[in-house]
């Protein structure tokens, strides 16, 4: 007999979940038998993923320590910056695991308003997030300058739609060109058609990929490995 491989687990789990999507849960879900097992799987597998994702955090943290630790040890180019990453990583880890600053001991919520972790979020992470987002304002400007050129019929259409909507969103464009209703129409009608064609196609792509995974055709990329 062939040794069970991870592929069997992949296939089994996927099939159970597909079946579960169409089966009425037998009351409390605690009953035994096939129906009970399927319902149990449906109810718990996604939360198990959540748990695995946390183990993955640990794996990621270990990987980060290794990568940057080695750069510092071997004095590679820019090792000072790796040291910055290591120090900030470890500092936040200590603050967070020991719940420093919040309610006494380990009782409190780590995101309590008075905890140091929250202070770090508010004064370091939150502004960094907001700033990265605001870089996008500059990038939409440079990308649209470069991309929206009437080189061919396709790019002319792209350019035209973008200009109409850009001008239709500001009072000046509305007063000068009455672009507001045209831009609304573009967003409501052809845009909807394009979105729907994309979504329907994606659904089919997902089905095909899932079938290939379940049949083990995506070897090596899936569970089967080497």
């Amino acid at each position: 007999m062939k040794r069970p491989t991870p592929q069997i687990l992949l296939t089994g789990v996927a099939l159970i979940l597909v079946v579960a999507a169409f089966m009425a849960p037998p009351g409390d879900g605690s009953s035994g038998g096939f129906a009970g097992a399927v319902t149990y799987a449906d109810r718990h597998f996604s939360s198990w993923f959540g748990i695995l994702a946390v183990f993955a955090f640990l794996l990621g943290g270990a990987s980060l320590l290794r990568t940057h630790g080695r750069r510092v040890r071997e004095r590679k180019a820019d090792w000072h910056y790796s040291a910055v990453t290591l120090v900030s990583f470890l500092a936040v880890l200590i603050v967070g695991f020991l719940k420093l600053g919040g309610p006494p001991g380990l009782t409190g919520d780590p995101t309590d308003a008075s905890s140091w972790l929250t202070t770090i979020f508010d004064s370091v992470l939150s502004p960094l997030h907001a700033t990265l987002y605001s870089l996008l304002a500059f990038y939409v400007a440079s990308a649209s300058y470069r991309a929206f050129r009437a080189r061919s019929l396709e790019t002319s259409v792209l350019l035209g739609a973008a200009l109409i909507v850009l001008l239709g969103r500001i009072p000046v464009g509305v007063t000068l060109f009455r672009f507001d209703s045209l831009s609304l129409w573009l967003l409501k009608v052809p845009n909807t058609a394009g979105q729907r064609a994309l979504m329907i196609g994606v659904a089919l792509g997902v089905v095909a990929l899932a079938v290939r995974m379940v049949l083990g055709l995506e070897r090596g990329r899936g569970g089967d490995g080497s």
Binding site: I51, L52, F55, F57, G60, Y139, L187, R196, I200, V207
Partner: protein, 231 residues
Amino acid sequence: MIHPLAVSHDFGVWVGALLTLMVFSFLYRDNPFYKFAEHVFVGVSAAYWMVIGFWTTLWPRVIVPLIPEASRIVSSDTPLPERDLSAVVPAVLGLMMLSRLVPRLSGLARWPTAFVLGTTAGYAVVRYVRSDFMHQIQATIGDGVLIPAAGGGWNVAESLAALVTLSGTIFGLIYFMNTRRGGTVTTPAARIGLLVLMVTFGASFGSAVMARISLLVGRLQELLGDWLGLL
């Protein structure tokens, strides 16, 4: 113009403002300040989400159910919860994932990966068929392409919209046909489909610009207002 008293005295505001300027400097070119902010960002964010994941998921859903005594570490006056072994399977899968860290055992990690891929595929199929395939087709068909007006006759604008939506969706789908002879866009129908997609992208892009500028304005308001007290 900058009044010394209006400038923020809050240490956190200063840290945030300096990091913001460091990131903005990247728009000119890469430089040591950006590198510093980038490496702080990586270290702090990786640790932050790890800590949150530990306290909100691993602790209450794995450690405490399996080892109720552990809850004493956090709080000594609450009664011990009942032991609940349903977390054993994910815990074992999680430990198998961590086995990557030990080269000799690393083959075990293929099992949790297979489990995750199986759940991903299993949940996705039905969800996509339902909401991205069936629901979208039904919505596109709607009430057909001739919409009656309230006071009798036909509502021309609505009918035109319905017709464009329906035919645009069909042409778009034809553009995506894979099995066809020759190059990329051969039939006129596929070409029309591509044009529909181009309108979609152009219009969405134009609409998104406002959102992006809003974020920049928000950031600058905090910088000029909260930090420098200018606004």
